[in-house]
């Protein structure tokens, strides 16, 4: 078995249950607010500053599709500091830590959009940690039901056939080399939560999900993502960042079955039209 940090074990969901039975948030009475416990377990009780500038989360008030809910964080580092990581927490999900984004040191990431599963009405938190060790938090409440046990694979033959396939979409025609750029990485993967149980055999359909994503521009990291089962099937991340002039982008991903996939794409040069 892999050695896991506390945070990783919370990301991983079922492993979290094995490592720490106290972490079965879904079983807690509805009235209990899981957030204080998460602050202890995930953030070691580090003080957090509520903010409406450093990290701002955007989410619908009510999810239109609990298995596929778009979520955005806008980032703006405090003066004299830089954001190192952003942790996305869906408080009442079985695996509450949906993803940890590690921002490339030179990438100036200002916006991240992804898609998540939301199991029930819940608060969500985006926590930005700066290089100087300060935590900033943004909170949203969302109404949703059943996103984690929802059938994640709608078209099973297709899902198996295309697992690991990737696509990078590059938005807008960059006007200059230094202008912010926006790309979206799409990964074909069932990101199986392991929460579907076969009533006849009583076996859980095993969890298999994308655990690690790294998106590069040349040799520089744009963003690294520790993902879990709270990310939707076919994990997708759209990110706005500063281009370093590299002529290509690359993505390396790893799933919990230790399957590794890589792909690279030519960067659209400034002044040309986007695809």
């Amino acid at each position: 078995m892999l050695k896991m940090s506390r945070r990783q074990s919370l990301v991983l969901g079922f492993s979290a249950v094995a490592v720490s039975p106290g972490a079965i948030w879904a079983a807690a009475p509805v009235a209990d607010d899981p957030w204080p416990g998460l602050v202890t377990d995930v953030f070691s009780d580090t003080a957090m500053q509520r903010t409406d500038s450093v990290v701002i989360m955007e989410a619908p008030y009510r999810s239109l599709d609990a298995a596929l809910t778009p979520l955005t964080v806008n980032l703006s580092p405090p003066a004299g500091d830089a954001i190192k990581t952003v942790t996305l927490v869906v408080d009442r999900n079985p695996a509450p830590v949906a993803a940890v984004f590690r921002l490339g040191e030179t990438a100036d990431v200002s916006r991240i959009e992804t898609r998540i599963r939301v199991n029930e009405n819940t608060a969500m938190h985006a926590v930005a940690e700066t290089v100087s060790g300060k935590l900033y938090v943004s909170e949203k409440f969302i109404k949703a039901a059943g996103g984690c046990s929802a059938p994640s694979i709608k078209n099973q033959d297709e899902a198996v056939a295309s697992l690991g396939k990737m696509k990078l979409r590059q938005f807008g025609a960059p006007t200059s080399a230094s202008a912010p750029r926006e790309v979206q990485l799409q990964i074909r993967h069932p990101n199986n939560s392991g929460f579907q149980v076969d009533q006849v055999t009583h076996y859980y359909i095993p969890a298999r999900f994308v655990s690690d994503i790294k998106l590069w521009q040349g040799e520089d990291l744009i963003v690294g993502i520790e993902g879990g089962i709270s990310l939707s099937e076919d994990p997708t991340v759209r990110v706005t960042f500063r281009h370093n002039g590299a002529k290509s982008f690359r993505a390396d991903i790893l799933d919990t079955d230790q399957a590794a996939f890589s792909a690279s794409w030519d960067a659209i040069p400034p002044g040309s039209s986007a695809s």
């Binding site: 955007e58 619908p60 239109l64 599709d65 596929l68 778009p70 955005t72 959009e113 898609r115 039901a145 059943g146 046990s149 929802a150 059938p151 694979i153 709608k154 078209n155 099973q156 033959d157 297709e158 696509k167 979409r169 938005f171 807008g172 926006e182 979206q184 799409q186 074909r188 929460f195 579907q196 149980v197 076969d198 009533q199 006849v200 055999t201 359909i205 076919d234 997708t236 759209r238 986007a274």
Partner: protein, 316 residues
């Protein structure tokens, strides 16, 4: 493949079973009449109004069908709860003494097959798409939880899954006694286990949820796959089409036009947004908005359809 020769229930077994059944459902049946009408010779249909599954309707929201042959009959879908399945079974017993030899499940959704257990008995085969067992295995836990919430504990108290005993690979012909029905397993569309039933004698096509009318279509598996399957469906020469939800169509394939218009509106709105780099959260708010007045339950399902279709179309 021809499938006949399954055990025929004895009259006595049948009556014993029905007597027991009648006891259980007498009160429920008295509360809600179960309408079953003969829409073509030997073809009986139950056509509830489009609605969300709720305790008040017992999950009776999907169209159900009965095809009566000389030797036996076949049931097309069983309703969204055992209570609905029992009412359906009881209504069949009033119409015919022929045994229900085949229970055909058009796909994996619970509003169509949670009544299966009401038909369980010696000699009854449960027939489904070859992908149906896999779909049920991966979804039943979710369906149990969500149907307990929607129907309430009492309607789900004696619930049990009845998986298919006969699987259709591609096409299968069932003989009900001087009456052949053709089952066809389709590639992924509404779900990845859609099955249609065609009665040769009356040229009646039961499409399951491959066709929605009135009730806004619900995209579960793949919008693009479904559009392709609709081309294949519309080539079937049918005099009468019974959709999974909504009114029958006697001018087939015209009954597909509204659904096609909805899908084309959804796809073209989303493609335009994807092309322009509009994000999912924004795109799903407005997709297919012009279709809103044409469908019931539009607000309940269009957002989810748009989300899933956006994800599918951005791979184009």
């Amino acid at each position: 493949m021809v499938c006949n020769g399954a055990t025929v229930l004895s009259r006595r077994t049948l009556l014993t079973g029905l007597t027991a059944l009648a006891g259980i459902t007498q009160r429920a049946a008295a509360e809600t009449p179960f309408a079953l009408r003969e829409i073509a010779p030997g073809i009986h249909v139950h056509l509830p109004k489009p609605a969300l599954v709720a305790a008040a309707n017992q999950g009776d929201i999907a169209n159900l069908g009965l095809i009566v042959g000389d030797a036996a009959c076949a049931v097309v879908d069983t309703g969204g709860s055992i209570a609905v399945g029992e009412k359906f079974h009881q209504a069949i017993a009033v119409i015919t003494s022929k045994p229900v030899r085949y229970v055909i499940n058009t796909h994996t959704h619970p509003d169509h097959l949670f009544g299966n257990a009401a038909f369980q008995g010696a000699g009854t085969e449960f027939v489904g798409h070859h992908n149906l067992p896999r779909a049920l295995a991966s979804r039943q836990e979710h369906y149990l939880v969500s149907f307990r919430q929607q129907l309430g504990e009492s309607l789900m108290a004696n619930f049990r899954f009845v998986p298919p005993t006969v699987l259709v690979q591609d096409e299968m012909i069932l003989d009900l006694g001087n009456r052949r029905i053709v089952l066809r397993a389709w590639p992924a569309a509404h779900t990845d286990c859609d099955l249609t039933v065609f009665d040769e004698a009356t040229k009646t096509l039961f499409t399951g949820d491959l066709v929605f009318r009135e009730h806004v279509p619900v995209v579960d598996a793949t919008l693009l796959g479904w559009l392709q399957v609709m081309d294949g469906l519309s080539a079937i020469k049918a005099n009468l089409m019974i959709p999974g939800h909504g009114a029958p169509d006697e001018t087939w394939p015209d009954g597909l036009l509204a659904q096609r218009a909805y899908f084309e509106s959804l796809a073209s709105d989303l493609r335009k947004d994807i092309q322009e780099g509009v994000g999912m959260s924004e795109a799903i708010e407005t997709a297919a908005a012009s279709e809103r007045g044409n469908w019931q339950l539009f607000d309940e399902y269009n957002g989810r359809n748009a989300s899933e279709a956006f994800k599918e179309l951005e791979w184009e």
